[in-house]
């Protein structure tokens, strides 16, 4: 087991881009090597030690590497981007794009995650204890696919466009979701325990299940017979018919 603990020593006002903070990149490295890993502060190339105190225990492969970020890093973006294995634990908030393009492993955010958490995620798991921002598990501009695999759990609320263009994988939102969760869903599963608005527009495939109140439903879903899932009765809709869609939308009765 290798454990790397990063304690933030400066809170930068400018977002730090730190796609280099991954178990894949840290595994097998010495403390000095990790300290000197490149990160960007705006247009300024810098190194990890400028912003974090780093402690290291052990030396191991990515799957046995755990990164603990001891504190909030609300201005550090892209943590865990593309990681294939291992663990990241953030004991606080994190900035945009946490776990973007993630393929495996587990990221746990104790606090809130900003927008684009799990963008284009392919595998692995992201657990967010607090709230998440816009575009949770969504795609990149112009792409037809967002999240393709893996699982995201958010214990708090999320903002608009959660799971936009999701093509696979699963998103579970314990709180409420903003506008248009699962828009253009093409095969993913989204569950929202709380309330939301205009879910599933242009859904082609996949499932969206809502246990709270839906403020507005787009007028292009076909109502089917009610269905009971896990003891709860749902209004079931299929659509979005304007997109020739065959997605399933369940709204608790």
């Amino acid at each position: 087991m290798q454990t790397v603990t990063l304690t933030p020593i400066i809170q930068s006002k400018i977002s730090i881009e730190a796609e280099t903070i991954t178990p894949d990149n840290f595994a097998g490295k010495t403390r000095e090597e990790i300290e000197n890993i490149t990160i960007w502060e705006g247009n300024h190339k810098t190194r990890l030690f400028e912003f974090f105190k780093i402690a290291l225990e052990g030396k191991d492969s990515p799957e046995n590497t755990k990164i603990i970020i001891n504190g909030s890093i609300p201005r550090v973006k892209r943590v865990g981007e593309g990681m294939t294995d291992g663990m990241i634990l953030i004991n606080g908030d994190v900035d945009m794009h946490v776990g973007a393009k993630m393929q495996g492993g587990v990221i746990t955010v104790k606090g809130n995650a900003d927008s684009w958490a799990g963008r284009e995620m392919k595998g692995g798991e992201i657990i967010i204890g607090g709230d998440a921002g816009y575009y949770l598990g969504a795609g990149y501009r112009g792409e037809s696919c967002g999240m393709r695999g893996g699982k995201i759990i958010v214990f708090g609320d999320v903002k608009d466009y959660a799971g936009e263009h999701i093509c696979g994988g699963e998103i579970l939102i314990k709180g409420s979701a903003g506008l248009m969760p699962g828009i253009s869903n093409n095969g993913g599963i989204i569950t929202i325990e709380g309330n939301t608005e205009m879910p599933g527009a242009e859904m082609k495939k996949g499932t969206i299940k809502i246990n709270g109140v839906v403020e507005t439903l787009v007028p292009s879903y076909k109502q089917e017979d009610d269905e009971e899932i896990d003891g709860i009765v749902y209004n079931k809709y299929t659509g979005d018919v304007v997109a020739g869609g065959k997605g399933s939308l369940y709204i608790k009765k």
Binding site: K13, I14, S15, E17, W40, E41, G42, N43, H44, M96, S115, W116, Y134, Y135, Y140, R141, G142, L179, M180, I183, S184, M198, A201, E202, T216, V218, P219, S220, Y221, K222, V241, V242
Partner: protein, 430 residues
Amino acid sequence: MEITDAICSFCGSLCDDLTVKVEDNKIIDVKRACRLGASKMLGHERINSPMIRNEAGILEEASFDSAIDKASQILLHAKRPLLYGWASTSCEAQSKGVLLGEILGAVVDSTASVCHGPTTLGVQEKGLPTASLGQIKNRADLIIFWGCNPIHAHPRHMSRYSGYLPGFFLDRGRQNRKFVTVDVRMTETAAISDEFLQIEQGSDYVVLSALRALVNGKDDLVPDVVCGVSKEDLVRLSGMMRSCRFGAFFFGMGLTQSKGRYKNIDCALSLTNDLNTQTKFVITPLRGHYNVTGFGQVCSWQTGFPAVDLSRGAPYYNPGEMSANDLLMRDEVDASLIVASDPAAHFPSTSVRNLAKMPLIQIDPYANATTEIADVVIPTAIVGVETEGTAYRMDGLSLRLRKLVDSDYPSDEEILDKIIKKVSRKGDVC
């Protein structure tokens, strides 16, 4: 002296039929311009000289050289510089702006981000089925104005492109065309339309979705009332859309700034696409400033994206993350260069407060709200009046703006070029 075929550099209509009368190097009359164009051509009070804010907080007159020097020093020391504006200047100046952004590692964003930026995001989802304005003039027998008020914002649009003039296939002009306005309030444009569909503020996406359902023959799914609009009205509108020979859908901030923002555009684009299975339909955003379209064009061909973050030496694009207001709202910007726009007048107060906190350089012909918070002010010539340059009309047509009178002011392009020379390292590509 009379200059004919002059091009108006006010709004995105770029009317090119103005006759301008010049005496003693002063424009004394403008024929055919609307109130907006005429007000610009006939001139306003100008910034006299470059200025630098002194320690007492007062803007003090300075030389061009010292203002440029000060500006360059500010920009060189910034880690997250923002180069913003670009809507009311030439493509040539915009091109210099992108280059400066590369050299500095800056974010280069335009006023589109508070205007039709969401339109571009919609286009990235669905594409843009559009046509040149002349095509619409010659063919369109149904004109839809959705969330826009061209009588106020583009006063000659209807008379030149979208309504009143006869076209090749519509020899009686307005009589051959139907106007429909969809808006949340009865505007002047709505008042002169044949049909006005009043919708609840923020319901555009739902209403557009209902129209899509109707156009695609899913009438049974549409409820009797959709966000306050009766199904009957929607059926009538969708019927008009399907049965016209050539429909043109114009839209403005009513779609881009309301709930759903770019998803409204996305839905309108899909509706347009669907309608082409049954007739001919095109859609065109009514672009505000005369060359905001040009910035999107220049920045896209130079960097691949219509706005760009060059902080890491390579182009990066993601509105919502690197747009001016996102950066300002998060207080990330540590220096800004504002060219040919007035964010202090047009950004939310949170953004303006953060803009004011950090060093700010303004390049503009006129004193405005941004001047009040600027640290360095550099006055320049007015493009299309005092200097030549390229601009793109709202439909993507590029035109060469003329120089109508002489001016002692340098152009935006010249000032930017001088800043570029100051901040570049020797031998670097520029």
